[in-house]
């Protein structure tokens, strides 16, 4: 009984913690970390900026424009990201548009983040008291100035915790790039796993994800507490 349990444990260690395999494939997984980080940074920067821009445009309440923004936000929030990634990656070449797998993953996840960011910020903008608009406009500030200097900073404050959570959720989806061959963490790990016939690289990948994202998860918890104060 005891020896069998021990060999079970050994088998487990052989499968997930094979030192030779770990050492051999660590560099490629590290390269994957670079790709994942680079993609995440790009997606967050461009996605947040685009989402903020769309929420601001919507504040002008130009009927057709607002309608288009709502359609964009709803469609991209409704579609499963993997569906969009596959559609764009395998569909666009048929239309004569060739994008690298990296580019497809970047564009799709950026648009999805922008859609969520737009909705979160829009909720923030509309929840700012009407009196803030009136006070600012009564001093001669224009609509755009009021939006930028008075409304948006307050909307941001409300939006930061949900925005952080959403940014984490969407940057984690860079792992979906594996299916179209983006050499991110997961892709490197699955490649290593099939070459070595050992699951240790996958464990290493999981560890890399935790190390990468845990600080952000902790930061979002901190932000949530920090921004949950009562407003003036």
């Amino acid at each position: 009984m005891e020896t069998e349990a021990l060999s079970g444990l050994e088998r487990f260690a052989q499968t997930f913690l094979n030192w030779e395999v770990l050492v051999k494939y660590a560099p490629s997984i590290l390269a994957g970390v670079g790709v994942t980080v680079w993609l995440s940074v790009l997606i967050i920067l461009v996605g947040m900026t685009l989402g903020t821009l769309l929420a601001c445009l919507r504040a002008y309440r130009v009927g057709p424009l607002s309608f288009l923004i709502v359609v964009f936000a709803d469609v991209f929030r409704a579609l499963p990201p993997l569906v969009v990634i596959l559609l764009v990656f395998f569909g666009l070449p048929n239309a004569g548009i060739y994008l690298s797998a990296f580019m497809v993953l970047f564009v799709v996840l950026t648009l999805i983040l922008a859609a969520f960011a737009e909705e979160i910020l829009w909720a923030g903008i509309t929840s700012v008291d009407k009196g803030q608009w009136e006070a600012a406009r009564s001093t001669g500030l224009g609509f755009t100035q009021t939006l930028g200097y008075v409304i948006l900073p307050q909307a941001m404050r409300l939006a930061i915790p949900p925005l952080t959570n959403r940014a984490i959720a969407i940057t984690k989806m860079t792992a979906l790039g594996t299916v179209i061959g983006v050499p991110d963490i997961l892709n490197q790990a699955t490649t290593a796993q099939s070459f070595s016939g050992n699951a240790s690289p996958l464990l290493l990948a999981a560890l890399a994800y935790v190390l990468l994202f845990l600080p952000f998860v902790i930061m979002s918890r901190w932000l949530e507490r920090r921004y949950s104060w009562k407003k003036a």
Binding site: E134, R137, S138, G140, L141, Y149, P153, A232
Partner: protein, 251 residues
């Protein structure tokens, strides 16, 4: 300063405003002379706040004309932002920007509307805060100020733009009774500097002491107007009498 113009500082003619089917203002005429403090009294729903908010077009009038120092406030081709910086407004709920310090609440419009430099705007803001007795609170966020202090910062914010008229929309209604006095004191000092003021408020005692003229509104119309002594001691209209006896508790 002798104003060379014969026109009143603020002139409202034939003002009408509808909210859906509700006729909120039914032809209101008001003129406020230079350095005059005019008090508007009336039951809630009488249209006095709506009238005030039409003066800087926070509410868009349906009909009527408004002039500031003879310049049109209403009508096509009016530069609304330019005219608004000449009309200060103080709100019942203060509406300070919660993310900015007292000083920066004041400097925002100085910098972005008047285009002043940081130093210029800071100096002007500190002078305005000094005038309302809050220079020592300049770096506080609104949340760290009492209601009365917040309202005085709001007055400084409007005052710093050196408006030609100041509109007060129930400036003390949201305050605890013990905080009302400081705000009224600031308003009294403003009057002494010659500021032209149009005030909607329920502060009867203050109206009696400080107002040059009292206007009684009811049901979207002006019922009567005159000196505070005459209105309070010897009102002409039954509607004025019934309103006054209600707000003064029949005393």
């Amino acid at each position: 300063m002798n104003a060379p113009t014969q026109r009143p500082s603020l002139e409202v003619r034939g003002l009408h405003k509808h909210f859906g089917t509700f006729h909120a203002l039914k032809g209101v005429d008001i003129s406020v002379e230079h350095s005059e403090l005019v008090f508007v009294l009336g039951p809630s729903g009488s249209g006095k706040s709506t009238m005030l908010r039409c003066c800087n077009r926070l509410e868009e009038p349906d009909a009527g004309d408004i002039f500031l120092e003879g310049d049109p406030v209403t009508g096509k081709g009016v530069d609304l932002n330019a005219i608004r910086q000449r009309i200060g407004m103080v709100f019942q709920s203060f509406n300070l920007y919660p993310h900015l310090s007292a000083r920066r609440n004041v400097t925002l419009a100085l910098r972005k509307v008047l285009g002043q430099s940081r130093d210029e705007a800071d100096a002007r803001a500190m002078a305005a805060l000094e005038q309302v007795g809050l220079a020592d609170k300049s770096e506080n966020l609104p949340a760290a100020l009492s209601g009365g202090q917040q309202q005085r910062v709001a007055i400084a914010r409007a005052l710093a733009l050196e408006p030609q008229v100041m509109l007060f929309d129930e400036p003390t209604s949201a305050l605890d009774p013990e905080l009302v006095g400081d705000v009224l004191a600031v308003m009294r000092e403003l009057k002494e500097t010659g500021m032209t003021m149009l005030v909607v408020s329920h502060e009867m005692q203050f109206a009696r002491e400080a107002a040059d003229r009292v206007i009684i509104m009811d049901d979207g119309q002006i019922v009567e107007q005159g000196s505070p002594e005459r209105i309070f001691e010897n009102p002409n209209h039954a509607r004025t009498r019934s309103f006054l006896s209600r707000v003064t508790g029949g005393a």
